[in-house]
Amino acid sequence: MGFFTDTSVCIGCKACEVACKEWNAIPEDGLDLTGMSYDNSQGLGASTWRHVAFIEQSKPLGHAHADVDHGDVDVLALAAQGSGTPPGEAAITPTTPGTGPAGTGAADAGDGSQGAQGVEGTQEARTDGDGRGELRWLMSSDVCKHCTHAACLDVCPTGSLFRTEFGTVVVQEDICNGCGYCVPACPYGVIEQRPHDGRAFKCTMCYDRLGAGREPACAKACPTESIQFGPLDELRVRAQERVDQLREAGVNDARLYGHDPQDGVGGDGAFFLLLDEPEVYGLPPDPVVTTRDLPDMWRHAGAAALTLLGGLAAVFAAHGRDRAPARRFWR
């Protein structure tokens, strides 16, 4: 079982963050205002198992037009038509071409941040040929990837991390001795030791809920079905369909991340549909499970150990026996 997170429909409501905190009784880990768009939880860690990333860019999203003057549209008349209007009959849709730059009023639509990206910012930020300035606001709910080849599980010396019957990776907190080795091993920066506790914590994909036949709390709480839970092969098919659909709609940036069972971690148990490069979302572009090179590492270490043993043996062989009188201590 796994997650498919379709970030193209994420609205940044953070219901997943809240549901995760609530269900798993995760302690508060700081109440910071970071200025990083709406992201104040900053990243995954011991006490943040779902993290919504917010990215503000001056890039067009598909065929959508920002900065369009809709002053001539009678919204009350549109509302009177009801919400069931087919796109063909609608006076305006998100992909209706603009009538030229508006400059005011509509410019700050979709701009959730005060200040620099406001009216002037978008006006100045016209980057494309036909004089439109676009701002797109990407949101993505990040989570533990539950890798097929999980580095944290491989390197745990106590066996506290284990693979569950659902194919997920879970920490047994009564076994973890807080060695912290899983923390730098994770190529995604997910697992972390909790300060003042010492043990490592991460998403369990709601192991308790799965055992009771329920879906994880974040997927349950997601209002837009951005977070989908189910068997991975089904999700992969669904994700591919969604990417094709988005590409047809002109969103050429849409791509899947972590869906490929041939990738460096053998495929993620939680994969994503992204609208930009993975590193824009703080994800590594080509993660590889560190233990893939472990046999090679042991070989090199063995060679080094033999070098040390052989080298020092050679030194003593070269110097031979000490023939000086044996009774001495300091001089």
């Binding site: 990243g43 912290g180 148990g269 994800l283 472990l294 060679a303 000490d322």
Partner: protein, 435 residues
């Protein structure tokens, strides 16, 4: 950019044992607010994601373009003006260069330190300059100390056995003692660094070849008693047969103890360690030989220290050659072993090992004092190498540049090669990931 950066809340410099960036913890020090009369304290991150270090907003909204030079700014100063006019924020440190970013947890973004920024050779994007990886909560003294003591003990056991076999009793006795003390110290450092020291025994719950820490725990469980028994038999003069067996066991297990710590570091996602996994074991055993020969020089008379002098030369030569080879392989990531805290320790190690090796070669055979001083220099050199490797690795995990750029390069190469070539040979160790 090192661990002891100004953090803007008065908590001051690095304190060993302090976990950084946890606001809940920082309440002990008072307010965690960053808002001042002038606006927000510290560096404000860019709003737009950066593509290739270029600000797509034409400089509006963040001061995160790669500025040609950085003005001298006091840490924590240079706050953006309260009303955001889209002007430069007066810090000019590019988030794309991973400057001015906070720790992974907690929003204590550190101000730039006024150093001339290195313009990145490679273009890359990051999420507000935040690290991709989580940094280990390991304390440098514990873990670098563990590496150092493990090396000193492991190589020392080999030297002790050699000294015993070739009739150098004082050296043998000194090194057996130092190895036993070192292994106790290294185990203490390791246990002290556990989040739950009381659960240390869980290390021996299972034996996992995929976990260097598990392998190392079992190695120490075998090597520790061997070197302890060897030292006790030597010092008490009782049970010489058992002592000889323990000495031989220690000499065989010692090199493994000295070398496995390199795998311990390399088997992580930390670019400065993982990408150096071929050279790191040789750096570590070279450093171990340096430390043990230094101990031998310091503790044995001139008439006996011939092998120690040669071992010092061989150890320093191997260590420095391996470090050079490692830096060549690392490419961009090698910066962390040249600049910053890691670079300072590595330079200190180079200087000390050169001085110690020269002293060992030229003077230690004649003067007891010179032998002692050279020995101490070699011990210090080994400790500096371990600290340099530790801090450099930590730095490489903090800066997203070192994670993203090499992986992008790898992807580019794979696309050029037609893809999938290096995907072969995956372990199928865990079950398939879909339930």
């Amino acid at each position: 950019m090192s661990g002891g950066e100004q953090r803007g809340n008065g908590s001051g410099a690095y304190k060993p044992g302090e976990t950084y960036g946890n606001p809940a913890e920082e309440r002990e020090y008072g307010s965690v607010a960053d808002v001042t009369k002038e606006g927000l304290r510290g560096v404000r991150p860019g709003r737009a994601a950066l593509v290739g270090g270029q600000d797509l907003t034409d400089g509006h909204g963040d001061g995160s373009r790669a500025a040609p030079q950085e003005t001298e700014t006091a840490p924590g100063a240079g706050a953006g003006p309260g009303t955001d006019t889209g002007a430069e924020h007066g810090h000019g440190s590019g988030t794309a260069r991973g400057k001015g970013r906070g720790r992974h947890r907690g929003g204590r973004r550190r101000g730039p330190r006024g150093e001339q920024p290195v313009v990145p050779e490679a273009e890359f994007t990051s999420y507000y300059g935040r690290p991709v990886l989580n940094q280990p909560a390991w304390q440098p003294l514990n873990i670098a100390g563990y590496f150092f003591l493990g090396g000193l003990g492991g190589a020392g056991s080999v030297l002790a056995a050699g000294a015993g076999l070739t009739g150098r009793p004082v050296m043998a006795r000194a090194l057996k003692t130092s190895s036993a003390v070192a292994v106790v110290g290294s185990a203490a450092a390791l246990i002290h660094d556990l989040g739950r020291p009381g659960r240390f025994v869980n290390m021996l719950r299972v034996f996992k070849p995929t976990s260097p820490m598990s392998v190392g725990s079992w190695l120490l469980a075998a090597y520790g008693p061997a070197s302890g028994v060897a030292a006790l038999c030597e010092l008490s003069g009782r049970m010489p047969r058992l002592g000889r067996a323990a000495t031989a066991g220690g000499a065989l297990l010692g090199p493994a103890v000295a070398a496995y710590t390199a795998v311990l570091a390399a088997d992580t996602a930390v670019p400065g360690w993982h990408d150096a996994y071929r050279e790191l074991p040789f750096v570590f055993v070279g450093s171990a030989a340096t430390a043990a020969s230094g101990m031998a020089l310091a503790m044995s008379p001139t008439a006996e220290n011939g092998p120690a002098r040669s071992a010092a030369l061989a150890g320093t030569a191997l260590e420095n050659a391996a470090v050079k080879a490692m830096e060549r392989r690392l490419g961009l990531v090698a910066e962390v072993y040249r600049d910053g805290t890691g670079g300072r320790w590595m330079r200190a190690a180079e200087t000390l090992s050169a001085a110690g090796a020269a002293g060992a070669a030229l003077l230690a055979g004649r003067s007891r004092l010179a032998a002692g001083v050279s020995g101490l220099a070699l011990l210090a050199a080994s400790a500096c190498t371990r600290l340099g490797i530790f801090h450099g690795g930590l730095e490489s995990s903090k800066d997203p540049k070192y994670t993203v750029v090499p992986q992008r390069e790898r992807l580019r190469r794979r696309e050029q090669d037609g893809g999938g070539a290096d995907q072969a040979g995956r372990r199928g160790q865990d079950g398939a990931g879909d339930g």
